[in-house]
Amino acid sequence: MQCSKNFHEMELGFDLSKAVAEADRCLLCYDAPCSKACPGDTDPGTFIRKLRFKNITGAIRTIKKNNVLGGTCGILCPSENLCEKACTAKLKSEFNILGSDNAIAIGKIQRFLVEHGWETGFKPLKPGKPRKEKIAVIGSGPAGLSCAATLAQHGFKVTIFEARAKPGGVLYYGIMPYRFNKSFLDKELEDIKELGVKIKCNTPIKEHKGIEKLLKQGFSSVFIGIGLWQSKSFHEKFDKEISGLYPSVDYLSGICDQRFKTIEQQIKDKTVAVIGGGAVAMECAEASVNLGAKDVYLVYRRSYLQMPAEKKEKIRILDAGVHFILLNQPIDYLIGQNKKIQGLQLNRTLLGKVDKTGRQNPELIPKAKWNLKADIVIEAIGNKPDSNSYKLYPSVKLNDKKLIINEKNTMTSVKGIFAGGDIVQGPSLVVKAVQDGKNAALDIINYLS
């Protein structure tokens, strides 16, 4: 297979004339449905209207005030299923609407406006009047960043503790640079740092009760936004020592840090099998193609329609040349000498009864096992909280999946400890994490006054 694009370059966005042309198609709906459909209250109805009336600075302000990662969301939101799904301009159906029947490209306009702000040096966000309270934020993913930025705009002193070398969470260590590159992230982070937010990298909270103790170390409140950083495995015999076997988290984060060259060499001209049918599996499969793998197989135990990934993503992956092996359940690893992976044992399945997720359950077909040869196997069947993370906050109530339960709005069962993003919602979206962080900030302000 051929690497279809430069691994580190993402697609260009709109320029001013394209954005204006797109805004011109907007029907300027009363009580705009797109705004209601945005899970982050980014308010596209308002910012597009502002652009339409040449109030470009105002449009940028609307985005950034509502969504401090507005540029990022413009790129990464599955907007066709969010704001753009509600777009009235799309409802052309059988009627003769002027213009076209596509939804307004809200995500692209949003990205353009934020980039335009950077280009022209317009900075809509300001730190608030200083307050004495200090707040600790754990994790610099979208949830933590959004919480910190909102608090800083209200004058709080915020410190983000981040375990890894770089801030951004999944934005840095999960999403491939050709979809979303690091220099874009840097600019969006710069806006946040300019508000006075301190981000301490390489500073994991790891002590027993470490997060709870922060409340006694001068922090008035704590926000937990640590995300989900452990991959699930289909096999109880999963072993880190098997070479060529990757959990998706290690594979993707490795590509994003200094292990890039090593992984690239491992993948080039090799056969890769990715297990899973969700967004992360798609990310792993596409990355493998783009790193020059000979063949990439995507192994999924149900059928095409049951895959949780977005349709657009699935089609993109198919077009990139990934081979879909549907209706096949991995049963075991094939392991050779020196604990080197050689492939997977698969069992063909048929779809049976509908389970509680509303999807038909895969049932194994007897005597239908076969071996898929592969040099690299990547497990991408889901992420969960780090198995030790609950020790950092043993008093905080968790559900059966070890996700944090928010009791009152975004406050956990422990007073002064708030949480949001994937560690509360399970695997979710950037825009939802942003919204959680923002809501938690407002809850913290309420709590402290």
């Binding site: 004339s17 204006v20 042309a21 805004a23 011109d24 029907l27 300027l28 709906c29 009363y30 009580d31 449905p33 339409r52 009235t88 301009a89 409802l91 052309k92 009627f95 003769n96 609407i97 002027l98 213009g99």
Partner: protein, 430 residues
Amino acid sequence: MSNNIDLSIKFCGVKFENPFLLSSSPVSNTGEMVARSFDAGWGGVVFKTLHADQVPIIHPSPRMNTYNYGSKKNIGLQNVEMISDRNLKDNLLDFLYLKKNYPNKVLISSIMGFSNDEWAYLAKASEDNGADMLELNFSCPHMSVEGTGHHVGKAFDLIEKFTATVKKTVSIPVIAKMTPNVTEMIEPALCAKQGGADAISAINTVSGISEIGINDFVPKPNISGLSSVSGMSGSIVKPIGLRFISEMGQCKELSLPLSGIGGIETWVDALEFILVGASTIQVTTSIINYGYGIIQDIIEGLQDFMALKNINKIQDLVGKALPNIKSTDNFDFKHQGNTNYDLKKCVGCGQCYVVCHDAAGQAISWDKEKRRPILDKDKCLSCMICSFICPVEDLITYNKMPLTWNRKQAPVMGKIFAKDLKYKPFCNQT
């Protein structure tokens, strides 16, 4: 071409293979350009205005600015261009070339003198070198010399004088080109007639300012830090052109052939000018925007329209809308109407609600749940602004109501203040 409809027309006794001409402007600046326009299908040309080489003509740089609306570009054009910057001899040589190679195309020489003698000189030179007609430029808004361009167009006695001078000098037909920067055009047009003009063309550009630089406070085009109120053209001036042509078309006392100019881009625009009385059509800005090739769609579109309507001659369309243009006191005020909403087509944008609420009769309320307008027909003013903003074609249509229908009046908010009112009805003293 799609059919055999003949678009030829006689104008001041001269036969045009079709009524579509380049107007005098950069699009008719040289023989080479005009030749290509003829190849593309234009029926004739009014050549870029000639002068007698007595003052050097230098165009300001840059000399134009565009007028955009939202993402819609070039809906208008502003220019500070002068008359031809080529010398007279070169232009006349190009006349000879064009007449030799395109004997069936009509060559109209646009001229501007800076004195009575110059008008005569230019008229003669044009006639001697093959011009089929003359157009007297009384309307260029960028000439600062008194007694030239639109200064003449506004000094009506000079119009008559210069026209008479030209008429005495030559035997070819003479058109007077008018400026729209006057309150009425009939009076100057009658002066031209008095002087012997055979036809009137209108409009030249409309004085305006298209844009002001908001950082340097210099309007556009920015000529080393300065600009000028100057001529607007293109689509935005079409309504003004239609107005002046229709008024002259209706004027019995004038009854001269008219050449329509102003924002013509499509066959529909051209037809509209014909319907209000123009029998030739002149074009510049849409050629500046799209090139000579637009003539193909103008011709084919008009021919197909005429075929569909069973009309054989352009002449049969000239002035056909004039009987339907009257001053407002002639209207039937008794018949009132409202609107029909075909809600099956509604997409729920709510713009009708907004505009009716804030700029009309408050006849619409908004069903928030269903995202649909609810129309109270009895309050509808029939202003139709909702139908202008509605994105769906023919969802909102006009509905004529019977004479028995009465519109609900807008509420009076101040009823409780009746005792504070200082008012008595106007009473005519005579």
